[in-house]
Point group: C2
């Protein structure tokens, strides 16, 4: 799903690096940096959690200016629910990194991921920043990505090149995220680097639209984090004909960005904690998009549906129960359910399907659940994973 | 939690029985009956799921009359999502049982629990009804309860005796339910038998109030079933001074009923699929009861919180994240969190607590999570369980 990464991944005008600062222990990379050689336009979406982490609060202010140059990220500690000290820690990281990078602090964004409620190991980070900055290089994106992994099993990098506004442009995204994945800003950390020349307003609009149809349409466990952050930096070095809102050429940029973020968001679900399957829940025929979304999430977040998929137990009645539990007024006679193109239920009656066929359907690694509500023309698709022993294992002993 | 049951459990004027009709295989009891020797007042709460099972649709009509005498229940098959045939099957069971019992069909309630989407094995049930009715006896409540168990590990029976309206009355409740437990009619099957003499309107009001504070305040997995049913039958044989609405003596009845249903609903959570702990989430200081409830369920239904409790991993930051993800406007400076009376977080800052103390807190079998929002005087309490390997195991291979 996520591209196999080679050392050749790079975006014109971007340097990156990732090092071990000893936050996670061993020699694991845990401190990463992305740096644009020139000031870049920035847009972002941040978690709506009341307990936004200290770095998220800082970024929320800085992003308002529309300009940024660098993102420093640590894993191993979320610096959330850490009070005033946590804010002071985040500002100290920011000051140290900006100084080394010789940029205004306001142009630096700070991100953290890991355990909530623990103080940052500030000394370790401060002493790691030197080698982090010194090692910045054109092909360091993969290292920066590694440094932000927590329970992720594999790196998530996606890159597209294409002609936009009469010039070759590159869009490259990286993401981390394996648990605490929830629709309402289900991003954890996602950074996109592009050399496209684009107006701030256009960047903001397109980024929000694309995030809505990609990272905001996935779920692993229905848990919204304190640190979810999606950032795009556009440094304009491609010198293409500028992209502005309502321009036809913006469409091509939107498509490329959608490709990148769809690939990354599906990689996050596939790498969902303990996940063994990618399940796509498509709801169509709804009166409104929000109805379609609510039904899709009622199914996608059902532990009973997710465990049935894990066990490859063709217990489709749980999907019917989850549809009916969505709280949306529905006409049961009009509802249809098919799984992997096999009609399972319609006109309030189970279809005639053999058990062996149903078992086969549940055995797939990539399963589409299609639900038609028969009440309108709106639709919504959500990507989710199954619920396995390993999800419990990973999460029963995470902080200690 | 649930009373250890003896063969002495009985309620004046009620007969009961439970037999094996071969639905579940082996000699497991799977067909149960409760019968009042005289017509009883009835009140009920039924699932709000769009895909209410056939028996629930039948009961919804019959309960409107306010009078019932018997409840027949099968386990092993929910008779939900079974279309017209499912309705015909349920009516056939009803006709056969009413005939044997020599009562009008409208006085019989029908309940089913088990796998969704499978037809009832009608012949087995019809041929089991003979011995079921023949064996009705004063001390058969325990057998009737056994017959409705699915993944339940132990029976759930609660009984209270007391003086109400100048006479001794008895209230006895039985419940089944181990998974698919969700607030919005989180009852699965619960039947209450009482010999109290009570007006239909008063019965209805009190029953709904008490269910709201007991069965509608628990969660195992946030999944609302197609078959949830709570029924109370009051046969009046105690000949107490009649209980009517707005009467002082109704309060004593309410208290006894609350005791019975609180005990049963907590037993359901403790026996939650794979549960190893009972977790009480109390939210106070909310602007409204519905705000308090929403925060409580955001925490109680968080897979990350539930796995942390299972693993006895003192990852309290996940509780903070779940509070912040509730979608309610909150002032983070005013929020306080304590676990088992240990202050963990307040004034947007973690409390100074040693890790060993926190670990002890998470080791309890019965843990209270107390959250104060500092924004009002409304509160709500929810009972939930942890999320274990066994939840996944039980649910990954249920239907086949």
């Amino acid at each position: 799903m996520a591209k196999s990464t080679s050392n050749k991944v790079s975006v014109p005008g971007f340097l990156a690096n990732g090092v071990s600062a000893g936050i996670k222990g061993g020699n694991q990379k845990d401190l990463g940096l992305i740096f644009s050689t020139v000031p870049a336009k920035v847009a972002a979406m941040l978690t709506k959690n009341t307990f936004r982490a200290a770095p998220v609060l800082i970024d929320a202010e800085r992003i308002k200016r529309g300009i940024a140059r660098a993102i420093i990220t640590n894993s191993g500690c979320a610096n959330a629910a850490t009070g005033k000290e946590g804010m002071e820690d985040a500002l100290a990281v920011s000051a140290a990194a900006a100084k080394q990078l010789k940029i205004p602090e306001e142009h630096l964004l700070v991100c953290s991921t890991g355990v909530i409620g623990k103080r940052l190991p500030l000394k370790k980070i401060e002493s790691g920043i030197g080698k982090l900055v010194k090692g910045l290089n054109e092909f360091g994106i993969e290292d920066a990505e590694s440094a932000m992994m927590t329970t992720d099993k594999y790196p998530k990098i996606s890159i597209r090149k294409g002609i936009v506004g009469a010039r070759d442009i590159t869009i490259c995204g990286i993401a981390k995220g394996a648990g605490m994945i929830e629709p309402n800003m289900a991003t954890l950390l996602t950074y996109v680097m592009t050399d496209a020349l684009i107006d701030t307003k256009a960047l903001n609009t397109v980024f929000h639209q694309v995030i809505d149809s990609t990272f905001n349409s996935i779920s692993v466990d229905g848990c919204m984090s304190t640190n979810d952050t999606a950032i795009i930096l556009a440094n304009g070095l491609a010198a293409n004909n500028p992209l502005e809102r309502a321009q036809a050429r913006l469409q091509r940029f939107r498509e490329m960005l959608t490709d990148v973020l769809a690939e990354l968001s599906q990689a996050v679900v596939k790498d969902g904690e303990g996940a063994t399957k990618l399940i796509t829940v498509v709801v169509e025929g709804a009166k409104s998009k929000s109805d379609a979304r609510r039904v899709a999430y009622s199914v996608a977040n059902s532990n009973l549906v997710k465990t049935a998929f894990f066990g490859e137990d063709p217990n489709w009645g749980r999907i019917i129960a989850a549809i009916g539990a969505s709280g949306i007024p529905l006409e049961r006679e009009k509802i249809g359910l098919s799984i992997a193109n096999v009609n399972v239920f319609s006109q309030d009656t189970p279809a005639v399907v053999t058990l062996s066929k149903l078992k086969d359907v549940f055995k797939g690694g990539n399963i589409e659940v299609r639900i038609s509500l028969g009440g309108g023309d709106k639709s919504y698709a959500v990507y989710t994973s199954d619920l396995s022993y390993d999800y419990v294992k990973i999460n029963a002993d995470y902080s200690t």
